[in-house]
């Protein structure tokens, strides 16, 4: 037994985060409160395991093995539109499908056998093995299983300790980042150095939803910025293992992966910056961010040329839509960092954001939102569907812009809706994404369906509804 003093020491470093607003708070109670816990009976959103899969499963040439009962993978696989330009082994679902027998006698042997079978049959670049609530609760030693399986199979087998009950989806993103830092990054060296004038960088927190990454890479290619590691949209295990040799890291819309970027800097001296690929201003900031972080004045001037050229193209493409979007009011409800980056994108296409969600946002995120929206904008802390509809009504907004979870809330309330989260099918990032966002908004707003469904059937029409129609 360890001493009482050491037992009372704060938990290991995964709970320490210098960048966390809560932990830096001047109020001692707030400092130790930790992340806000969900209210039983009034909670929404995914778990840490979900978050760890979001972050790691896009690694397309790896096999992802879920050690848990069927609910963890059976109910969740193939749910996200993270695309790969090559191998798609990540779209297959592997699970130990823990049974009652395993709960009683342990599931280590079973998941070990499964990892070896997957390694033999599918020849993955690596295997990620995820713990879940039940297998964490029964105490299966995933680290031991993974190191034994790695030795036997002759390929990297990475344990991911993010059981669902550890916390929120964001926390799972973070734990997944920790797994990459501990087990993957720095384990390989790149084959050859980039040609002169070419910079190699990492993207962290970009998941290539609907192929968004491919809206951005052409511009970066022209600037001589190429990817050392995509973490993890269209990601490859071997590239990520060499991420420590990149010259810079951009963290794309992900607070939860800041510790990963910070780890890359602390351990390997790779500088990083935060940015977003949504909207004209964000793209300019991102490109300038690369030039500044890479410290290349030649690049900096080329960046300015490219920005001027691309912005002219985008403004021309937006011209026919601007008139329609002028005066359109939107309520935005999306998580964390995405909120301010999406506000900026919406403003770029001429939409007025009258309220924005901040459920998963940090105080810094909220500050940036307020800076963009002005002091009068509503910041929505409680994203319950009833509340969202209420806010749309109060603000007289024309459209709700949110994640798929709220799509049917909007439709049932006969409100136009645009999906900006992980289940969308249209890429909205990069310069091509700006006019696309405008087109999607116009498509949603101008559909004749709204006027039809807002009218009652003839036999149900009252004087009031006739006036409204």
């Amino acid at each position: 037994m360890s001493s009482t003093a050491s037992a009372r020491r704060p938990p290991p470093s995964r709970y320490d985060e210098p960048g966390c607003g809560h932990q830096r708070s001047k109020d001692a109670a707030a400092r130790t409160a930790g992340c806000p816990a969900p209210t039983p009976g009034s909670a929404a959103g995914g778990c840490s395991f979900d978050g760890s899969m979001i972050t790691l499963v896009p690694i397309a040439d790896a096999a992802h093995v879920i050690h848990g009962p069927i609910g963890c993978l059976g109910n969740s696989w193939e749910a996200r539109g993270s695309l790969s330009s090559g191998r798609q082994l990540n779209r297959r679902g592997f699970t130990s499908d823990v049974t009652e027998h395993d709960v009683v006698f342990g599931g280590e042997q079973k998941v070990y056998d499964l990892v070896l079978e997957v390694a033999r049959e599918h020849r993955p670049a690596a295997v990620f093995v995820y713990s879940t609530c039940v297998t964490a609760l029964i105490g299966d030693d995933l680290d031991a299983v993974c190191s034994a399986a790695a030795a036997r199979a002759g390929l990297p087998v990475v344990p991911v300790h993010a059981p669902g009950f550890a916390g929120s989806k964001n926390f799972g993103n973070r734990l997944a980042g920790a797994a990459l830092l501990e087990h993957v990054i720095g384990t390989r060296e790149p084959g050859q150095a980039p040609p002169p004038g070419v910079h190699e960088v990492n993207l962290v927190g970009e998941y290539n939803i609907a192929g968004e990454l491919w809206n951005v890479t052409p511009v970066l290619d022209r600037l001589g910025i190429r990817m050392r590691a995509r973490i993890t949209g269209d990601g490859r295990y071997g590239d990520i293992a060499t991420a420590h040799r990149a010259e810079a890291t951009m963290v794309v819309c992900s607070r939860a992966l800041l510790p990963l970027a910070r780890g890359l800097q602390e351990r390997y001296g790779v500088p990083w910056f935060e940015g977003s690929f949504y909207g004209i201003r964000a793209m300019a900031d991102a490109l300038r961010g690369f030039a500044t972080t890479l410290g290349d004045p030649v690049l900096a001037s080329r960046v300015e040329d490219v920005i001027a050229e691309q912005e002219a193209l985008v403004r021309a493409a937006l011209e026919p839509l601007r008139h329609r979007l002028a005066g359109v009011r939107a309520v935005l409800y999306t998580g964390g960092v995405k909120s301010w980056s999406m506000i900026s994108a919406l403003q770029d296409v001429g939409v007025e954001v009258v309220a924005s969600g901040a459920t998963k946002s940090t105080p810094e995120d909220v500050d940036r939102m307020t800076a963009l929206l002005g002091p009068d904008a509503r910041i929505v802390r409680d994203g319950k569907p009833a509340q969202l509809i209420e806010i749309v009504r109060e603000t007289g907004a024309d459209i709700l812009i949110a994640g798929g979870r709220n799509q049917y809330t909007a439709l049932k309330s006969r409100l136009p809706f645009l999906d900006v989260n992980q289940e969308r099918h249209v890429p909205l990032a990069g310069y091509p994404g700006v006019p696309e966002l405008a087109r999607q908004l116009v498509r949603a707003l101008d559909n004749p369906v709204w006027s039809q469904v807002r009218k009652d059937a003839p036999w149900d029409r009252t004087a009031a509804s006739l006036q409204g129609a």
């Binding site: 969900p38 069927i70 499964l114 609530c133 609760l137 009950f165 550890a166 049917y408």
Partner: protein
Amino acid sequence: MATVTLSGRRGATDPLKLSRPLGAALAFLGLERCMPLLHGPQGCAAFAKALLTKHFREPVPLQTTAVTELTAVLGAAGHLVTALDTIRSASAPDVIGVITTGVSETSGEDVEATVREYRLGRASGPQDPLVVLVRAPDFIGGLSDGWSAALASIVAAGLEAPPEEQPVRSGPLAFPLLAGVSLAAGDLDELEAMIAGFGVTPVLVPDLSRSLDGHLAPAWSPLTTGGTGRAALAALAAAPAAASAGASAAAAAETLARGGVPVARFDHLAGLEAVDAFVDRLRTTTSEPVPDRVRRDRARLADGLLDTHFVLGGARVAVAAEPELLTGVTHLLASAGARVVAAVSPTDEPVLTTAACEEVVVGDLSDLRARAAEGGAEVVIGSSHTVATARAVGAGHLPLGLPVDHRFGAALNGVAGYRGGLAFVFRAADVLLARQDDAHPAPAAPSGPVPVPAHVTDTLRSPQC
């Protein structure tokens, strides 16, 4: 008669199985003004909710007790009580379905005691919600087992309802139909109309045709906007006769029978033979003639089977579905001469031995892929997850089961009854015809390379994954 084989695989590759709590939650979603509550970490509810939302294209009421790492170990009864109180104050439901999960079952807390005490202490009055408990460890069985257990608990709760809740009987006699997990809203509509045609009042339990059928209600609601009402549950015991449709309703049928109501049990209601038996039972039970409408529908199915037999006869089909749905579909397909070359069920059930194929494998979609390829399947029938299987073996795809989120109409399209069966054989035959169209495109221009049909290129591409 089919031989049931276990795949023998340890774990699953491309799982077909869905979780037991998901099945239980789905059953509760067929009750009116209901909120299912998963007693476990919030991810269990989030995954289930996302899957159901995408399949039904509807907002899905589903809450969680949000058990944490700490309370999973130290006891989460407090979470359950708080969740029940929170849901009541937020939306005042008629029914709350408490569903355990892998975590609450592994930690071994006495959920039954917590719920019992809650009922006695805080939910004993007629204005209080009916709180129904279902044990649903993720690590035993799957979707059908969860549905089965929940439905049995729902029926038991109805039978236990205090006498003052039981309404005075008026009008035609009630005829409860305990619905299995495989019945889509369209199926339920047809069965309801059939029963009504015999002069009795159909009472569907549960009734997804009024909650998750995709209807635009007057306003958004945090609860289910339709389904079996609480009063109808309380009146179950008074019914003179009832039926169950689906193997996953058999446990509930037994519960209802113990309550003194004779229940005619049907493993599935797909195909002429099965539906005929159901209709004949209604006829003998009610002593009413078979309505004209039902006769016409039967004649249409018979004619449709004739029309499609040119296409379906000898066609090689692979199916992956929940046990009762799989069994029903094999009968429907076999009745038009199709050969089921691969049949995969996520869990083992006695009903599988009655499937109209040689072998049913209890396994996953890698079993489906292997057997479909071996049998040269021309069409793969199953959830959206089987689209990749169809592509890999170069077959057409017909959506069936849960989840279907890549096509529209999944919540309505079923296989049961005369109408459901007819629509299904038409869809199956159409997939085969479309595949033939693709294989024999209109004559190309005389010069240039011969176009490669899409399903061939898909096959070539498939080894990548």
